[in-house]
Symmetry: C2
Subunit: 198 residues, 2 copies
């Protein structure tokens, strides 16, 4: 890329290393940045570095936060006796957007995957077990509906049940607005098994 | 987004302001950055700011560069008497990738668009005319094959021709590997008009 000068090539290279950014998008981003006002560019750079340096795991639920305890765990109105277990902070965000869940979370930062060599010790399971020493009514397992997510759900359920804590799993089924015709068979069977009386 | 802590929300917001980055991609980028090693994040931030601060227009061809004169204009092996006029530095890059063009470029940074209120004074046309005072054999107009690109091509051609300099326009036609069936009529007519003897 020596038709771009050195600093532009380096910027394009840096951008194209980010996930989901191909070479074309990286070029587009680079030229956009070069056209931005200097103070906005400095603000962008500062935000990136600050976030990286200050963000850590919440000491309770392990989600990413810039405080010792995340906003959800430090909110006195949230029900601390109900813990929803999710794989990533983005899954947490997805449930928060519903605005209807009032419990707290536990973020595993991954799922058990023998294929990828990710075992129970590689996700935040120990931290979850420690929390269960306290006063907990229910653990809702909301890992993904993938092979890894299901494996993780089974594993956690077997681990927790002996302690006498209620363990539940979010429902699998046809998405709202989903067209039966386009839904895979496994989902259709799950939806049938999980049918509720009207 | 108060379920993310402040610094993560700000990072997501900064990313989602960039072109082509929606809210989902911005979240993905943010969490990626938070997982990156600190020194790589600092390098990314520094590259962004440095590029913005040091990149300017080449004083000859107006492309973006971090030197006074871009690598192409300062290359003694390039034919300075042939100037290809393009709209953006990315168009320049596209022709450079062919590896077959040995002349130099002139980057307009836009095209004339009465619709968007962009007139001849808003693009780097004055700079082009100044270059033509020197020793130039041919000006190849390689603006886009859009309404704006064609308008700009016509305008430049009328401006230059009286000076007795040869002006040419890159060919319109069926893209190599293109399937006639899927090509629009205007392109098909252009390809017919521009046919060459075999």
């Amino acid at each position: 890329m020596d038709y771009y000068s050195n600093q532009i090539s380096r910027l394009i290279e840096e951008f194209s290393r980010l996930p989901g950014i191909g070479n074309k998008s990286a070029q587009r981003l680079a030229f956009h940045v070069i056209d931005m006002p200097v103070d906005q560019v400095e603000e962008l750079a500062r935000t990136i570095v600050d976030a990286r340096k200050n963000v850590r795991y919440c000491k309770v639920c392990c989600t990413l936060t810039d405080r010792e305890t995340c906003p959800i765990c430090s909110n006195p109105d949230r029900d601390k006796k109900t813990i929803m277990v999710v794989e990533t902070p983005r899954d947490l965000a997805a449930y928060e957007k519903t605005g209807k869940y009032n419990g707290v979370y536990h973020v595993l930062h991954g799922a058990i995957s023998p294929m990828l060599g990710i075992g129970p010790g590689d996700i935040k399971l120990k931290e979850l077990m420690e929390r269960l020493q306290g006063d907990v009514d229910e653990v809702i397992i909301a890992t993904n509906s993938s092979l890894e997510g299901e494996t993780t759900a089974m594993y956690i359920s077997k681990l927790i049940k002996p302690a006498g804590i209620k363990v539940s799993r979010i429902a699998s089924g046809v998405p709202v607005g989903g067209d039966l015709e386009y839904i895979d068979e496994v989902t259709l069977l799950r939806a049938l098994e999980g049918r509720t009386e009207l």
